[in-house]
Symmetry: C2
Subunit: 455 residues, 2 copies
């Protein structure tokens, strides 16, 4: 470890970084913003957002109460409230990006806090994008430093690390000093939490919102003068002591910072389907089989889906009743892909599952195989999924996917990304269809307040 205190070294990197010099990081950041907008806009009618605003005692209707948007919903809110609602909506469909180093969802937290604060501060596009890259870097490096143990015992990385990432991004946006950033990181880490017991419920996306709000609040409390410990991450009773355990490597928090920027390498995984990323391998395989064998599912006798042991840990639902539950069911994902050749927002709606898909999902059996060697570019590392469809005539069609579409190493095409956004803004005014062009030049925008069209 180089000299100096860990939290201070991290703070110095956060405020001292100029990542837009790196063309790949800039390109990845613009793509991340567009994908975050698509994921958030696709969820704009989710009823959970109404529950949240009711709990806050605010109304989204009528005159705005602040400067900060919730994309696709009317009115503007105070920045702290917008961060909470946006974090929830951007993760509500599980359509938002994931990152291997995080074991979770960076942009749902970071951009939800950052957009809210940038609109209120009327920040420039270049400050906004630089802050985003720095936030992702903070979250990824902390994920590598903390190691897998906290996730394994029950902590949700998206919120646990996201609160620090959101604070870091907001400090960079506000161009705070390293001293103030140390205090903001301390205020963020002491709000870190979120338990995986809530996976598969509304509380999972809410974690992203709570972390976004808490990270922004941490920055603001530090800016307003609240003082805390000098060593909140590395101190004897600090973050790594409480959470890291023996396999934590705190020095990795700043090691290789920006070399390369984690947003570009290994990079964000933009989802092709609004369902759990662990089901995307099976989804791609089933889509290929659908394209080859057609939509007649009546001839299918059974389906075998094989993983490495534990490869389906996140797919906690085997017998879903609704589309929402089906988001975490590989059985339903395979059935819908085989029957319809499409896994869209409607596939995972909060409605009872179609009888034909229920029947097909019941024919899917999970298996685990320790003999198969995953491909070097498998994403995440060590993963593969094999789907074998066995027909009534005895014939079989098998497809294997180690690195699904959208994951680093197998990125979505420009057209696919544009189509994801276009699908999400269906029904909104034409101004929303022009937004991708604006995002493509975001580093030139003078005032983030003007980025999003009115509703």
């Amino acid at each position: 470890m180089s000299a100096g205190l860990l939290t201070r070294r991290l703070a110095e990197r956060i405020v001292g970084s100029d990542p837009l010099k790196d063309a790949q990081a800039l390109e990845a950041a613009r793509a991340g913003v567009l994908d975050w907008l698509a994921s958030t806009l696709a969820a704009r009618d989710d009823a959970g957002a109404d529950s949240i605003t009711a709990a806050l005692g605010i109304s989204m209707l009528g005159a705005g109460t602040g400067d900060s948007s919730v994309p696709g919903r009317p009115g503007r809110l105070a920045a702290l409230d917008a961060a909470l609602v946006n974090g929830y909506l951007s993760h509500a469909l599980d359509y938002d990006d994931v990152h291997e180093s995080v074991r979770g969802h960076p942009s749902a937290v970071i951009l939800s806090a950052l957009l809210a604060e940038a609109e209120e501060r009327r920040s420039t596009g270049s400050d906004f994008l630089a802050a985003y890259v720095v936030g992702v870097e903070t979250m990824c490096r902390l994920g590598l430093a903390l190691g897998p143990k906290p996730y394994e015992v029950g902590w949700h990385s998206t919120s646990l690390l996201g609160v620090l990432a959101a604070a870091a991004a907001c400090c960079r946006l506000a161009r705070l000093s390293a001293n103030t950033t140390v205090r903001a990181l301390g205020l963020a880490v002491t709000q870190a939490g979120g338990l995986r017991v809530h996976f598969g419920t509304q509380v999972k996306p809410l974690h992203a919102g709570l972390a976004a709000r808490s990270g922004l609040l941490a920055m603001r409390l530090a800016e307003a003068g609240i003082t805390g410990a000098e060593e909140p991450l590395e101190g004897p009773l600090g973050f790594f002591a409480a959470l890291g355990g023996v396999d934590a490597k705190p020095e990795k928090t700043t090691e290789d910072w920006g070399e390369p920027w984690q947003i570009a390498e290994p990079g964000l995984w933009f989802k092709r389907y609004p369902c759990c990323s662990a089901s995307h391998h099976a989804a791609d395989a089933a889509m290929t089989i659908h394209a080859a064998c057609g939509a007649d599912i009546s001839a299918i006798n059974r389906v075998i889906v094989s993983f490495p042991p534990g490869g389906d840990a996140a797919l906690i639902v085997s017998e879903p009743k609704t589309g929402v539950e089906g988001r975490f069911s590989v059985e339903y994902v395979i059935a819908a892909a085989l029957a319809d050749g499409e896994l869209g927002i409607g596939t995972f709606a909060d409605k009872p599952i179609r009888p034909d898909l229920l029947a097909l999902a019941a024919k899917v059996q999970r298996r685990y195989d320790t003999d198969i060697v995953p491909a070097p570019n498998a994403m995440p590392k060590g993963r593969f999924t094999i789907v074998s469809v066995i027909y009534a005539d005895g014939s079989t069609h098998t497809e294997r996917v180690d690195c699904p579409r959208g994951a680093p190493g197998h990125p979505l095409t420009q057209e696919e990304r544009t189509a994801k956004y276009a699908d999400a803004v269906r029904g909104l005014s034409p101004a929303w269809q022009e937004l991708p062009g604006k995002v493509g030049r975001l580093e030139q925008l003078a005032d983030l307040y003007t980025l999003l069209p009115d509703i």
Copy 2:
């Protein structure tokens, strides 16, 4: 463990309890409210509260923005904001109550959330007091169930458990169903956090405010319909799995519920001095020596203070520079008590320490003794403190305290409690001096909104 899910059993006890039938619990609750008011009012000019309202983007001056008070400060705030500011202020001087089962401060969190919500809901005094008793019970039982490990590795019990206690109290106040209370507990536990690395800084009292706000928000999100896990406490990736470790005893969460009510037995410790409770034994001893030997400290050669090993763990400052730092320094507490015979709010002000007290504090040496047997009523269990003052003429005066004034087993007199409150409201209008009488009949009050006088 009896049948049924743990979180559900807890929720059923929270909403089904009628603790005011117990005269001791009622009396303890009224005393707790008065002591919380004294602790909060004594801190009303603390600058940290201004930093917090600045960070929230709200102003405490001029017209109020809500229905909820910050005692002794002008205007009213939205309940969630008031809970945050009140939690901070009530713990800012470390003058507020502590409880052995919690290893922390219950009322700072619970009453800060509860008063804010009760004012907005215009709750009755009896609902308010019942909710308070239930909140303390929840926090204490969870503290006993979780065991000491989380505190030892760095978690701050006041916030970690307080968020659940505040949610429980607010659910009882709002008379929610057991189903909704299960969801509120799940929303609370997933916001639990707070690191001890911040002890001795403004972030420690802020933890109480953050937990109060998060607990109230948890109740409101559940009331507004947000759904989460059915087993947030006991589930495989839930609270006890993530935090409890091998020595947790989850079944203690509901064991002996209300038999007796923890608020009455062992009961709240009301502080006589606005400093760390671990220094109160030494403070009492030094006060006795001051009374016997007078205020002439020039004849003191040195002072020995003896603890059981680890008995001074919370007293993290040995060479304080300001009164605020002196709050966690046994050396300063002894010096001020010996010299002035008084440990008041001014003793721990955010000003440089007087040179004569600095010089005397430098003569204090800490020692640890494993041979001494603590008294059966020692508070906390196993604690003692011995102060020996050695004078220039070779004479020595020694005092030992195992259970300090204010702790359960050695309670403050009615007059001392009244004096603590009177000291805190000095400078406020006469209406504030009549408040103790109103609190003494609080169970008869029809509308909590009318409890506190205007500023």
